[in-house]
Chain length 156, copies 2
DNA sequence: GGTTAATCATATGTATACGAACAATCAAAT
DNA sequence: ATTTGATTGTTCGTATACATATGATTAACC
């Protein structure tokens, strides 16, 4: 009887217990996460053929722009912490898209550069990157885009 | 001689090769990622004592608000795909913060509810959640905040 | 009533994300 | 010249994020 009562009690739905003034879906963190997810999905569509993720592509373009850059510096420029950029670099090395060698001036540092295949992908990806950015911002009018990006920069 | 020349060539810094009209750090995806990283760091500070991540806290609050919810529904409400919400649920179960049982009306579904310790954490976290949201938006003036959130919603 | 399609949750694999610890190296201080 | 502190990159562990596949279950269709 008791165990039946307990089980019945256990399975009775707890009543809703709303939190006044705090809706999860209204919090800026939640909205940023969703906007980022949506952007990643859009990017994924544009880059499916090239098989590059947003962070991999960012790394490739930044190496292309600079010609040569240390791993640590690349991480700083692309907002990836040392452990994260290490993983991204590993995967790009594995695909033969980049090369690396020690910095003769500072043996702590590793210098990165593009291999021809990496250069080809970086160049091929630029237009798709632009398209992904455009598609992400498509729900905003031009004036809204400028305003949004300016405000977003203040939050970085 | 040749191998020396090759090595010298190999290590000569490739020249910069800028990408006109495409700066990685100006792309909305990059900015969203950084803004989200900053928010996560702020949240981490506020929630260090409670040992909850943003997604874990969101799940707890949403379960509290509804009383009882299926795992799939919870995932949808908190923008987490089935594999992701499964992992978050596992960790909350492991800490004894939530409980679950099959839905008698649909045995595919698992129903989730808070345990007392989960309710305590959810309630304790609300003020810190508000503080994290406030701190994240602190660089914006009040009118800017409203504008930013409205635009951000359009991108979700 | 039987078949087919859809749904739910789990499992697996890949890719970030980052804190913490470590070893090697360099800069700064003494 | 030596010591100390900082920097760089790697490793490990934990936590998302999500595509894909799977089995169990339910809904829709015939």
């Amino acid at each position: 009887m008791k165990s039946t009562a307990i089980k019945a009690t256990q399975n009775a739905a707890p009543p809703p217990n709303p939190t006044p003034g705090y809706a999860v879906e209204e919090q800026v963190g939640h909205l940023l996460r969703r906007a980022h997810q949506r952007h990643t999905a859009i990017f994924q569509e544009s880059f499916a053929e090239l098989q590059l993720t947003p962070t991999q592509f960012a790394a490739l373009v930044k190496i292309k722009d600079l010609g040569q850059v240390s791993q640590n510096q690349l991480g700083r420029l692309t907002a990836m912490d040392p452990a994260t950029i290490q993983g991204v670099i590993q995967r790009l090395l594995l695909r033969g898209l980049i090369g690396r060698h020690p910095d003769p001036g500072d043996r702590r540092c590793t210098l990165l550069r593009l291999m021809p295949s990496g250069l080809a992908l970086a160049e091929k990806g630029v237009e798709r990157g632009r398209a992904a950015t455009e598609a992400t911002l498509a729900p905003l009018a031009p004036a809204e885009r400028a305003a949004f990006l300016a405000l977003l920069r203040k939050l970085t």
